[in-house]
Amino acid sequence: MTHVREAAEVLNRDFLEMRSRILEVAAALDRLDRAPARVGETPDRRLAQLRQAIGALLGPGPGRAETVQRIFSLEYDPNWRESNGFARAR
């Protein structure tokens, strides 16, 4: 049986680290804004992933970590065997 902590206990322990990590992300986004884009450059899809992932943090939990993981993941193709010339699943 795992030990269950109260929300206040989790927040007391994790607040400063969460604050620090949010600051790191904020600073990285500022860094991106300061960096000039090349003229005519198409938006990098990774920026959209980052925005989507940040938006996911504001959604209801639990499961935010899994949601963020999926945002940064390639999709699974259930027909990958056929696409690659393998025999069909048994």
Binding site: M1, T2, H3, R5, R13, P62, A65, E66, Q69, R70, F72, S73, L74, E75, Y76, D77, W80, R81, N84, G85, F86, A89, R90
Partner: protein, 277 residues
Amino acid sequence: MRYIDPHIHMVSRTTDDYKRMALAGCVLVSEPAFWAGFDRSGAEGFRDYFRQLTTFERNRSLAYGIEHQCWLCINAKEADNVALAREVIAMIPEFLAGPGVLGIGEIGLNKNTRNEATVFLEHLELAARLLELVLVHTPHLADKYQGTRMILDMLRDEPRIDPERVCIDHVEEHTIRLALEAGHWVGMTLYPITKCTPSRAADMVETYGAERVMVNSAGDWGHSDPLAVPEFIFEMRARGHDEALIRRVVYENPLTFFSQCPRFEFTPRGDAVAATP
């Protein structure tokens, strides 16, 4: 607390790390065959590597009081060369009967290519035929979810391999449930940036429990921490979890999984009873 690191590449670590790990309580390491950071020039390169794993590295570990077990395969990265892979797979049985060999691993996918899947299936065929345990590498980052599902598909299609004789390693939040529901063991790899942290691993133990769950450092030639498992122990204690739960994840579970290999023998120093649970 005694602990086991069930996935660490000691060939790429200095002897200083063995001492640090011994001081921290490590009593056994399990070392899968992996990509050295460069593509080997041919099959004989793998023969030398397998010799290194089963003899030199084992002796280096034992000198620090740490039992050393290893796994053999051609890694997913180099598996894209199917011809080379077949030469290496043919060589594996020569080394399986050696001391400290647990099974076939770490096989898997890297970029989820057709060739990688072909070689993965041929490794599974070998494991099924020789009744070997299997340790699976799941891809990094964006490729992980897609590759894990492909791997689980291939394992599901191999009825000769009991799911509990397979460990799906490097699981994260979006793959752990899939692997556990398929009946496999899972490894959470505590490796900076590209994999998991001690905190997130502790979260997953709290969410999914400790059954069939292990943690490892996958310490290698990259930025990694050979003491990542003690970091996990620290995190779990800081959260108030009891010693029995922590010991189950970092010591008893690896022993249970490895004990499925009939060649596996391990008795911690000072224990009169063999450490098979």
